[in-house]
Symmetry: C2
Subunit: 139 residues, 2 copies
DNA sequence: TCTTTCCTTAGACAGAGTCTAAGCTAGGAT
DNA sequence: ATCCTAGCTTAGACTCTGTCTAAGGAAAGA
């Protein structure tokens, strides 16, 4: 079944029908959905599911560390169930399509000690931008 | 005077009193303000300035390429007049303080060709996260 | 079964940002 | 100097995204 559902069951967390539908919707398509997109798709399987439950559930999954919240554009947040393989994102400035990408090394290594301002630095995420093949200007 | 104002004058762009106050407010403190923070500070010098003008002006500066819009938290956007020196950001997960940082090399070099999905990749921005000295757990 | 806790729901609410319609200003033309 | 016009500013309505509240509903232990 859903690997996300499996991971969620390991926490002391009641797996209700609503939460299962949300988890399966989130993981099913390998894209980065907004909360409203998840609500629309979850409604196809469970028409009475509420907006509040979708938002609550996504926030809980994030708090449990099983989903990552992404903020690309300052509009809607997007939710990424793919937390096991750490990765970064490549976004098309034309159409907005977003791909998972992997760098040759851990970006934390690229921040020298004298640029750390005394911080304990634990995470680095990269947003690459450009134009996808469809949006690139015709040659 | 303000280097941002100088850069803006090079575009065919009417430099009104409102726009000058906004530009000087934005560049004056070397922090990353939200639109509302800029409005508050601009009001100290020009009490009748409107919210709409602040938002319009910031969006125009971004369109002119003289200011960069940042989206760290999915709440308010922040505006960065420091576009000349390209740099990245280090954020404290505790208190939210944000520092400009510089990496040892251009992050674009770390995305291999077979991870580019046919895109023309033009930009990479890194968000580093951690805890600042004040927020770090006591030793 | 009873009880307690947690979950779901509709709808009100809030924050951030955009849009509209009206009046105003800057700066070129005369 | 004055006129004209395009572009700028304004208040406030509106939209979008997300949170909160209060009430009822399901689950699991006693
Ligand atoms: Mn991803
Ligand atoms: Mn900066
Ligand atoms: Zn595209
Ligand atoms: Zn801190």
């Amino acid at each position: 079944m859903s690997d996300l559902v499996t991971r969620l069951r390991r926490h002391q967390w009641r797996m209700t029908p609503q939460r299962r539908v949300i988890a399966e919707t989130l993981e099913g398509a390998h894209v980065h959905y907004t909360a409203e997109e998840i609500l629309d798709r979850a409604c196809e399987r469970m028409p009475e599911i509420s907006r509040a439950t979708v938002y609550n559930t996504l926030n809980e999954m994030v708090a449990l560390g099983e989903v990552v919240e992404l903020n690309f554009d300052g509009r809607s947040k997007r939710y990424d169930p793919n937390v096991d393989h750490d990765h970064h994102h490549l976004i098309c400035d034309g159409c907005g399509v977003t791909k998972d990408v992997h760098t040759v090394a851990d970006p934390l290594e690229w921040l020298p000690g004298d640029e750390r301002h005394g911080f304990t630095v634990t995470e680095a995420s990269i947003t690459f931008r450009g134009l996808c093949p469809e949006c690139a200007p015709a040659r």
